[in-house]
Each structure stands twice: as structure tokens, then as C-alpha cells.
């Protein structure tokens, strides 16, 4: 069973979102997603300062097997990216909700947070896929 954290929000494309409470959110990919991908060997992240809209692809995560797009679940400006992933992409596998985070966004429309899935809804979605 994959690890789904109650304190986080989710989207169907398997990104997690943590509301930092200061108008920013941190985004990564879920335990379920890293498990599907397998060993991550490369992560390409957006540049800090990039304006993104919900649903854009803003990066790529590659495993030995395949490349997969990373979607931005919310609109805003990229204010920080996890530069550690450049040298240590395996953090996405070993700690997807911690050191394996991808990037942080300053939200342009806080109301978009209401569209996200909670842990139960995301769990059901994963169940339905497997």
C-alpha cells in the first residue's frame, strides 16, 4: 500500500500539495507516483520566477524506464525549486513527501485550493487504478 498523508492535498495526476499558510504551496509527486515510475534518475524543474497556470506541465521526472511530465496543480509564480534533486534525484523515491519535494509556488488564486482532493479521495483514486 502506498503512503498517503492526511495533512496534504492531491490532484489526480499524482502530485501532492502542502499549503504553507503564507500564500505559498509546496508541490511534489506522491508515494504512489514514485512507485509507479520506479527508480528516478533525473528531474527537470521550472526556473524560479516562472509564471505557471494550473494544468501546465512544469517539469519532467525520468526513471530508468520512462519520462513523465510533472503538472502544476495551481496557478502562480514559482518561488523556489528543490535544487538537491539535480544531484540526488533518488530522493523522490526515498522521501517523496519530504526531501524529495519539487517546487514551491506563490498562489495567484487561493480559491483554487478548494479544487484539490483530500487524502481519502486520492486514496480511492489510487485504489481504482490498481
Amino acid at each position: 500500500m502506498s503512503d498517503i498523508r492526511n495533512e496534504l492535498k492531491y490532484v489526480a495526476s499524482h502530485e501532492w500539495i502542502r499549503d504553507e499558510g503564507d500564500g505559498t504551496v509546496t508541490i511534489g509527486i506522491t508515494d504512489h507516483a514514485q512507485d509507479l515510475l520506479g527508480d528516478v534518475v533525473f528531474v527537470e524543474l521550472p526556473d524560479v520566477g516562472t509564471d505557471v497556470a494550473a494544468g501546465d506541465d512544469a517539469g519532467v521526472v525520468e526513471s530508468v524506464k520512462a519520462a513523465s511530465d510533472v503538472y502544476v496543480p495551481l496557478s502562480g509564480e514559482v518561488v523556489e525549486v528543490n535544487e538537491q534533486l539535480e544531484e540526488s534525484p533518488e530522493l523522490v523515491n526515498s522521501d517523496p513527501y519530504g526531501d524529495g519535494w519539487f517546487f514551491r509556488i506563490k498562489l495567484s488564486d487561493v480559491a483554487e485550493l478548494d479544487d484539490l482532493l483530500d487524502a481519502d479521495a486520492y486514496g480511492e483514486l489510487c485504489e481504482g487504478e490498481s
Binding site: 527508480d39 533525473f42 527537470e44 524506464k65 487504478e129
Partner: protein, 376 residues
């Protein structure tokens, strides 16, 4: 994730065992095959390089040829010396077509009164039809579809297998023998497709699961999926048919001149006499091919995959990647592909286009890792 269409897919005799071991099953060449086990592609790859891995390759085609002139008959289809292949030895060969292109690559072993042939899964129907149509009268072709094929590969393969059947230790690279393993009549060769020492073992289907469980009981041996098989063979510079080789590619373009036996070349005692010989021998004499298969190493970390286009520094398209991944052992993006001959020299800088960016790569010597075949 793509849904597996289990209709119309074949299963090997190890299907239930793969599922029991937690494998992720995917369609491959008409079979449901394990792409990885819970260990994951990267650890499976590294385990094979450090210890030993067991691969189910039962989807490949196994064929027995009998008849007094079987070796001579098979020689008419490949640019390889089969007549003088010693008894108990195996050799790499290529079926060529009349244009000099490669129809498939295969292994041929001489068993004295019969010849053992192993061909690729995706090509086996074509290859069997090709042999039936062209080997001539007096050659009997039997498809060994009542046997499975497994590979045990890695530096600990010999030690682990010798615990069960000590005789395997006396074999060297490309030896091929009939041998009883735990009471089962097997066809075993000391060879494989990972660049490591190891064995390929043909086992009667009914006994395969039992023997494979015995092999997996050895502490060195883990089950390894097709994902790691691909990265292992790629680091070792070995071609995958349908990707790195095809009907439109000659052995010279594919950098497989070593596979063309001297006796079948223009000055050899049995020169020519295989499909496409005119073109292939002309290419050897005049070096007039225009593209060549090369190894490519990426400078960054991003994997550069099949179908990525290759460019020179002036942005002219000069080639294409035919296989590529991130090499877990060399810890770098590793690929092979075809480039215009002007760019085929070692250390030439080229650029691969990935998601709109031009990533630098260097034409590099293959194999990318040292092959560790046991030659005695």
C-alpha cells in the same frame, strides 16, 4: 499506466511464478513478461552486475535443425562460418536479406548431429518460415516449443549454479552442452546478453518452474525483469533487434563487421553465398556506407532515449538515437544510435534534442563497461 491486454498474449511456463514474486507484467513481443520485480529496475541491474540475476527469456524461439548438411544449409542464410563451428560451441550470427539488411540476429550452436538455433521473440515466426523455405530438402526443422529458456547472469552465476551441477564450472564462454541439472535434461551455454559471465539454460517446460525455484534458492540469485535486461545489454553495447538493427541496416552500418566470418568475406575460402552478399562484401571492400552505429554518452544526467534526433554544432541533423537510458552502473546517460559517418569517430561531440533542448553527447567506445565473459 497502460492497461495490460491479456487477450491473445502468450504466457511462459514461469508466468505464475513471476506473479507470485510480485512482478509487474507487461506485453512484450506477444508475451506477458515481467518488466520488473519489487526490487526495481535499478537495483535489479546492479544486483546482476554484482551477484547474479535470473531472466525468463522463454519468449525467444528455440529451433533444432537436423540433417547431414544442416550446417552447410544454414550457412547459405548467414555471413558466418557454421561449417567449421566446433561441436560444443556456439556462435553469434545474422540472417541477412537480399539487400544486405539484417532480418534478425541469432545464436547457433553445433551439437554434432544437430544444430541448435535461438532467435528473437519478435522475429521467430518470420525466421522459422525463412529457414523452412530456404534450408532445402533433407533438413528437418523442429521448433522446440516444449522448452523454456532462462538466463543466469552475473559474476556469481557460475559459483551459484555449480553448487547444483558442478560440471558448469568447466565450461568457457560460448561453450554449449547437453547436461542434466537436478535430473532434468537441459541445453546449456555459457553466454548471455548482459556483458557478464553467465549461462543460458533451455529446460523442458514441465520442469522449468521447479528448476527455477531451485536456482532462486541460491543466495546470489534474484529474479530480474526485462527493464534491467535492457539497461544491462545497452551498457554492454549489445544490439536489440527492431531498435538498433533492422531490415534496412547492413552489418557494416551496424558496426557488426566482427560477426562476418573471415571465410565468408571476399578473399575467404567460402566467400559470399549468403543473401545480400554483393552489397555486404562491397561495403567491406569499399567502406562506402554512409551511416554507422556508435555508442553515445550524455554529459548531463537526463536520459536520452530512442528516437531522439542528433545534431552537429551547426544544428544540422546528423543521426538518431536507437536505444537510450540512464546506465545504473556507469551512472550516466548511455545510448546507441546511427550517425553520418563523418561524425562516427570516437570523442566526436554531438547534440541530442530532448524536449526542445540540445543536450551534449560524446561518441564513445562500446561496450561502455568491461565485458566479463569467462574465457578460461
Amino acid at each position: 499506466m497502460a492497461e495490460i491486454q491479456s487477450d491473445n498474449l502468450n504466457k511462459t511456463a514461469l508466468f505464475d511464478l513471476h506473479v507470485e514474486l510480485g512482478a509487474k507484467m507487461v506485453p512484450f513481443a506477444g508475451y506477458e513478461m515481467p518488466v520488473q520485480y519489487p526490487l526495481g529496475v535499478k537495483k535489479e541491474h546492479l544486483h546482476t552486475r554484482h551477484q547474479a540475476g535470473l531472466f525468463d527469456v522463454s519468449h525467444m524461439g528455440q529451433v533444432k535443425l537436423t540433417g547431414a548438411n544442416a550446417a552447410a544449409a544454414l550457412e547459405t542464410l548467414v555471413p558466418v562460418d557454421i561449417i567449421d563451428l566446433p561441436i560444443g560451441k556456439q556462435r553469434y550470427a545474422l540472417f541477412t536479406n537480399t539487400d544486405g539488411g539484417i532480418m534478425d540476429d541469432l545464436m547457433v550452436a553445433n551439437y554434432g548431429d544437430w544444430i541448435y538455433v535461438v532467435v528473437n521473440a519478435a522475429c521467430k515466426e518470420q525466421d522459422i518460415a525463412h529457414m523452412r523455405a530456404n534450408l532445402g530438402d533433407g533438413i528437418e526443422l523442429e521448433v522446440l516449443d516444449d522448452r523454456e529458456l532462462i538466463a543466469i547472469q552475473g559474476p556469481k552465476a557460475a559459483e551459484a549454479l555449480a553448487r547444483i551441477q558442478p560440471e558448469v564450472a568447466s565450461m568457457v564462454f560460448m561453450d554449449s552442452r547437453e547436461m542434466s541439472i537436478d535430473g532434468v535434461d537441459c541445453i546449456i551455454s555459457r553466454s548471455g546478453y548482459t556483458g557478464e559471465d553467465g549461462y543460458e539454460i533451455s529446460i523442458p517446460s514441465a520442469d522449468t518452474e521447479r528448476l527455477v525455484r531451485l536456482f532462486l534458492d541460491q543466495p546470489e540469485i534474484e529474479a530480474i525483469g526485462l527493464g534491467a535486461r535492457d539497461s544491462l545489454r545497452l551498457e554492454s553495447g549489445l544490439c536489440l533487434y527492431g531498435h538498433d538493427l533492422d531490415n534496412t541496416t547492413t552489418p557494416l552500418e551496424a558496426s557488426l563487421i566482427w560477426a562476418i566470418s573471415p571465410c565468408r568475406r571476399a578473399t575467404g575460402e567460402r566467400a559470399g553465398g549468403f543473401p545480400g552478399a554483393d552489397k555486404i562484401l562491397d561495403q567491406i571492400s569499399n567502406k562506402n556506407w554512409t551511416r554507422k552505429r556508435v555508442g553515445l554518452l550524455g554529459a548531463g544526467r537526463a536520459p536520452i532515449r530512442e528516437d531522439a534526433e542528433l545534431f552537429d554544432a551547426e544544428d544540422n541533423k546528423i543521426g538518431i538515437v536507437t536505444s537510450g537510458t540512464y546506465g545504473p552502473t556507469i551512472e550516466a546517460p548511455v545510448a546507441m544510435g546511427y550517425v553520418d559517418t563523418a561524425f562516427s569517430a570516437l570523442d566526436t561531440s554531438v547534440f541530442a534534442e530532448v524536449r526542445g533542448k540540445k543536450l551534449p553527447m560524446t561518441v564513445s567506445r562500446m561496450p561502455f563497461i568491461e565485458q566479463r565473459y569467462y574465457r578460461g
